[in-house]
């Protein structure tokens, strides 16, 4: 019974997201309850009043994201969170955030769909997050944590990325990670160096001497050429992000003949499946994208050199599998391992597909 006790806490993923935001200096949270993300709002409702922050349960998901737009335009770090159907409701706000070049953090703890679907875990909003978050030409940075520590760390970092690029950073997670508990280290991190927010709306502050220009934040441009200019500029920024921000984890891929691509909770299960495969003499590895947009294309393409086949495991009918095919340029077979409707993979589900893939290339 000796030794130092750890300074860890035991947290649910949803609570870790809330604490990650607080650690990042977020003091404005606007939400609306929906299972399986309600603990984010519940935790914020208890924590924000104690640290001088604002917790507001809005009248709807749409109202909540519009409040984020307001807080962000005023230069404050703001967040909203929801689960799949609720994020669909926020899509108008996501588009306006992009059109206004405003930083924001939005969390999606995915549940089964389409429609009201169910309350069990899912990953069927991949296309929504990476391609179709709202109308118009735009992207969001999409981060996919795979454990409770990452729920905290990536949420904290999401605010820096959002501020750095003046865009929405989405945490795309799922009901497994939202609900499960793991010990968490909340040690402080030095603040990132970020560009000054010289675009923030401050009313008439500092205008008396006539030096400060009037600031406007909007997404409406009267001239088509002006709108086109802004869209092109924004896509230059996206190209820069695609080149510098893609993140991933490789697990036992050095000698892997079969590579499983999986993110979020499914990546954890896939890791167990890879170990099962190895125990059975099949050289399998795991490729885990941490950023879903930008998708770590070149890192995955590099694996196609040595791997003979791929398995994409996701809790959907097949969405990320498209990005896998694009990254490897359809140069190798890519078998989909799908569970849906709120059903979570077992390691055996994925190991079964690894076995199929191994036979295919034998």
């Amino acid at each position: 019974m000796k030794g130092e006790a750890r300074v860890k806490v035991l947290m649910k993923g949803n609570e870790a997201v809330a604490e990650g935001a607080i650690a990042a200096g977020c003091r404005f949270y606007f939400g609306y309850p929906i299972t399986p993300q309600s603990e984010i709002a519940a935790h914020m409702s208890k924590r924000m009043p104690r640290i001088g922050g604002v917790f507001l349960q809005a009248e709807s998901e749409i109202a909540a994201i519009n409040m984020v737009i307001g807080a962000s335009a005023a230069g404050k770090r703001a967040m909203t969170s929801s689960s799949s159907p609720g994020v669909a409701l926020k899509s108008e706000g996501l588009s306006y955030l992009a059109g206004c070049d405003l930083p924001a953090v939005v969390v999606n703890i995915q549940r089964g769909g389409p429609g009201l679907g169910g309350i069990q875990p899912s990953q069927a909003d991949y296309h929504q997050a990476t391609r179709g978050a709202g109308h118009g030409d735009f992207h969001m940075l999409v981060l996919a944590p795979s454990g409770i520590q990452e729920m905290f760390d990536l949420t904290r970092e999401a605010f820096d990325l959002a501020d750095k690029y003046r865009m929405t950073c989405m945490i795309l997670s799922d009901g497994v990670l939202g609900q499960m508990m793991e010990p968490l280290d909340m040690s402080e991190k030095p603040a990132a160096e970020l560009p000054p927010k010289d675009w923030v709306l401050t009313g008439t502050e500092n205008h008396a001497d006539g030096k400060n220009k009037r600031r406007i934040i909007n997404s409406l441009y009267l001239e088509p050429t002006e709108l086109e200019f802004h869209n092109i500029e924004r896509y230059k920024k996206y190209a820069q992000i695609a080149a510098s921000e893609a993140r991933f984890e490789n697990y036992k891929t050095e000698d892997a003949e079969i590579v499983v691509a999986a993110y979020g909770a499914t990546a954890r299960i896939a890791k167990s499946a890879v170990n099962l495969a190895r125990e059975n003499g099949v050289k399998a590895g795991l490729f885990r994208p941490i950023t879903l947009w930008p998708f770590p294309k070149s890192a995955l393409k590099a694996l196609a050199g040595s791997a003979r086949a791929f398995v994409t495991a996701e809790m959907s009918m097949g969405q990320m599998t498209d990005d896998v095919d694009l990254a490897i340029e359809c140069s190798r077979p890519n078998i989909l391992c799908s569970r849906t409707g709120g059903v979570v993979h077992t390691p055996e589900d994925i190991w079964g597909k690894i076995g199929e893939a191994a036979k295919l290339v034998d």
Partner: protein
């Protein structure tokens, strides 16, 4: 440990009430006592007594839960069978409440009869490694809120300090000063220190109130493939 005829477990969200309740019910059932476990959680649609229905029934315990438990219908419902607590005075009952004061509201309808019950414990389960319940002030707040919402007063506390799978004896020991201070500040005795079975022998020497528990981590087990949750 000696259980009263009716034992209610309440506490902060995620403090381990369900794990403690299920273990106590199994312990009682194995000793031959007629015991019913009531899933009165109106807060959390996941990880509730209903998840352990088969395990409990196999061991001779009866489970009382809402028909909506563990379905996609996310409806907070108090099971009608909760009234059996008063209709069957020859039977022992364990009641697992939902988290915080919201969960404690489920008792409201029965508060008068519960307060008239001669053999009753309402135990505050806490884990000081959980947020908002890591110190005396937080625990006092939770106690007061739950008592106000339920209309029933606590009679003791359960120290369920743990860091999930990683828990070691030193982690448990590190909580003793806070638990002692909380016991004094709340005016409630430590009825039980919940200890995962692997640590029980080591802890029982020092802790007369140590209670061995099987711990369940449904999501983590799903990841490792060691536990088949219903429907997964």
């Amino acid at each position: 440990m000696d259980f009263k005829r009716v034992t209610i477990f309440a506490g902060h969200y995620g403090s381990g009430k369900t794990t403690v309740a299920v273990n106590c019910a199994l312990s009682l059932a194995k000793s031959g006592a007629g015991v019913s476990v009531c899933d009165a959680d109106i807060v959390n649609p996941y990880f509730r007594v209903h998840d352990f229905k088969a395990l409990l029934e196999d061991n001779g315990a009866e489970v009382i839960s809402s028909v909506f438990a563990n379905t996609n219908l996310d409806v907070p419902a108090v099971p009608a069978g909760l009234s059996a607590v008063f209709d069957r005075p020859d039977r022992r009952f364990i009641i697992d409440l939902g988290g915080d004061e919201r969960g404690a509201l489920a008792l409201g309808r029965h508060r008068d009869r519960l307060n008239g019950e001669k053999s009753l414990d309402m135990l505050l389960v806490f884990n000081t490694y959980r947020p908002l319940s890591s110190d005396v002030a937080g625990l006092l707040e939770i106690k007061n809120e739950i008592e106000a919402a339920s209309g029933v007063r606590f009679t003791g506390i359960v120290n369920n300090a743990n860091l999930g799978r990683e828990t070691q004896t030193r982690d448990l020991e590190a909580t003793f000063p806070t638990v002692k201070a909380a016991s004094e500040a709340l005016g409630l005795p430590v009825i039980m220190t919940a200890v995962k079975r692997a640590l029980y022998e080591e802890c029982a020497v020092k802790l007369p109130e140590a209670f061995p528990m099987d711990v369940f981590f449904p999501w983590e087990d799903a990841i490792l493939g060691t536990y088949n949750r219903q429907g997964m």
